[in-house]
């Protein structure tokens, strides 16, 4: 049976992990390759690098980081952040990453998804969607976004697009997975948005990765069952040692959720 996946996300800037890491006994806790390796040993199923480098050297820096990581971590590695073209994606994938995720660039130019999918295969293309609930708005304004609106530029810019419809469109365009972040839940550690996740999961026939809101092992169990997610991603709770990946996997197993142990 296909296992539900647990994914660790690392924010990488100029080739260094930016959020504090204080639970792992590492020689260099800021080195993405070393952290990815440590997570691999803990049993994480996938690692995601979110590249927040702003310099002109961006493409070269992230490619170098990926190359160093792929030399010692033999589980799937995805990279998101700043990928706007087939050439951007190629630099990352030929360095040893398995997938790229696109967000703002895909909203602004949906054909990018198709170009990437035709060049590298759907399995290498993740459509990342940042979504916020529209419940505070009058009903007549909600209809165009069916409850959740897409935001771009790291959640700063609202788009006239429903998250559910955009996910379905992304699948049609050639995306192989959806990485769905609930902006309402992100950073709260109060649990994933199961309602959003299951709504998107039912609208597509490609895997959905839930993101935003992880605070406990039970939150993962919840979104992987009730939320109908295929995978769940977290960053800070792993980095700060609030939840250990190995304990989390055991918890999921005890809940009857298929995991790789």
């Amino acid at each position: 049976m296909l296992a539900k996946r647990v994914i660790a996300c690392l924010d990488v800037k100029d080739g260094r992990v930016v959020k504090g890491i204080n639970f792992l006994e590492l020689r260099d806790a800021g080195d993405p390759a070393e952290l990815a390796s440590a997570y691999n040993l803990e049993g994480v199923d996938e690692v995601v690098f979110l590249d927040i480098t702003a310099s002109h050297e961006r493409r070269k820096l992230i490619a170098e980081t990926v190359a160093r990581t792929a030399q010692k971590v033999f589980i799937p590695l995805s990279v998101g952040g700043g990928i706007r073209s087939v050439a951007d994606a190629r630099a990352i994938l030929t360095s040893g990453a398995d997938k790229v995720s696109v967000n703002t660039a895909a909203v602004e130019r949906p054909a990018l998804i198709t170009e990437l999918s035709e060049e590298f295969g759907a399995q290498a293309v993740i459509l990342a969607i940042d979504a916020r609930r529209e419940c505070e708005r009058p009903v007549e304004l909600q209809s165009s976004t069916s409850g959740w609106r897409v935001f771009t530029y790291g959640g700063r810019r609202p788009v006239e697009l429903s998250a559910i419809e955009w996910a379905a469109q992304g699948e049609q365009l050639g995306a192989g997975e959806i990485l769905l972040t609930s902006m309402d839940c992100d950073g709260t550690e109060a649990g994933f948005d199961c309602e959003l996740t299951s709504a998107v999961s039912r609208a597509v026939r490609i895997p959905v990765i839930a993101s935003g809101g992880a605070g406990s092992a039970e939150h993962f169990a919840d979104v992987l069952s009730r939320g109908e997610a295929d995978a769940a991603l977290a960053a800070s709770i792993f980095h700060y040692g609030k939840v250990r990946v190995s304990d989390l996997k055991n918890h999921l197993k005890s809940r009857g959720i298929p995991v790789r142990l």
């Binding site: 049976m1 296909l2 296992a3 539900k4 996946r5 691999n40 199923d45 190359a67 792929a70 030399q71 010692k72 033999f74 589980i75 799937p76 994938l93 030929t94 360095s95 040893g96 398995d98 590298f120 295969g121 759907a122 399995q123 290498a124 192989g176 997975e177 597509v204 026939r205 490609i206 895997p207 295929d230 995978a231 790789r260 142990l261």
Partner: protein
């Protein structure tokens, strides 16, 4: 020495990293002459069946590759590299495969049972054939990493050694059982990605490398006696 064929496959770097990590002697090449002289071949694969066959054709590698495999040198095909062994694939019906084995690679149906999604992506469990050499020494029912929309139906291999058909060295279940790995003589194929399957994947590559080393040792020993 394992010859890794570079035809532009997306996971070439990961396969190279794996061989380097395991200190397996290898070279990466796009040259038909190198393939013709190879004593062991690894064909990686992430991408599109048609693009792969077209690239191999442009490199003038198809004929020599088929000859080397038929000559019995060790071969490991990963994902598309395993699909290449068959006559064709639903992914690009206009392209012929190497035709080492008969039959065609199929696409997972649009409507999978139980709402299963395509591509089949993630960690799934293998059920190993006890006689498999590729999985020698591995824990039963290991989880390995898959990422594919096309698969080998069970009838393309047999569950016990048979004439003219490869052995299903491993099957996995995704809306029904499919062939996750095959072997026939020194020809091996995996639908999953050993280069992305953590320690268990490293074990598979290491088993193949050991087999290559043993066979090339046997060949050079014979060479010495002949000389």
């Amino acid at each position: 020495m394992i010859t890794v064929i570079d035809y532009g496959a997306g996971n070439l770097r990961s396969v190279e990293n794996t061989l380097k990590f395991l200190s397996v002697p290898h070279r990466v090449t796009s040259s038909a002459a190198d393939v013709a002289a190879a004593s062991a071949i690894l064909l990686p694969g992430v991408g599109h069946f048609g693009q792969m066959m077209r690239s191999l054709d442009q490199m003038a590698v198809i004929g020599v590759l088929r000859d080397r495999i038929r000559a019995g040198i060790p071969y490991l095909g990963i994902c598309l590299g395993m699909h290449a062994l068959f006559e064709g694939s639903d992914e690009a019906p206009e392209y012929a495969g190497l035709g080492i084995f008969s039959g065609s690679v199929r696409r997972f149906p649009e409507n999978m049972p139980a709402g299963l999604k395509v591509p089949h992506m993630g960690w799934n469990q293998l059920h190993l054939a006890p006689t498999s050499r590729l999985f020698a020494g591995m824990t039963p029912q290991p989880f390995v990493y898959f990422a594919h929309s096309y698969y080998l139906p069970q009838e393309l291999a047999s569950s016990s050694p048979a004439v003219g058909q490869p052995l299903a060295a491993a099957v996995a279940d995704y809306g029904g059982e499919f062939i996750a790995a095959l072997e026939s003589g020194n020809v091996f194929g995996t639908q999953f990605h050993p280069e992305k399957s953590g320690n268990l994947g490293l074990h598979v590559v290491s088993n193949f490398a050991e087999l290559c080393a043993q066979l090339s040792g046997a060949v050079s020993a014979r060479g010495l006696h002949a000389g």
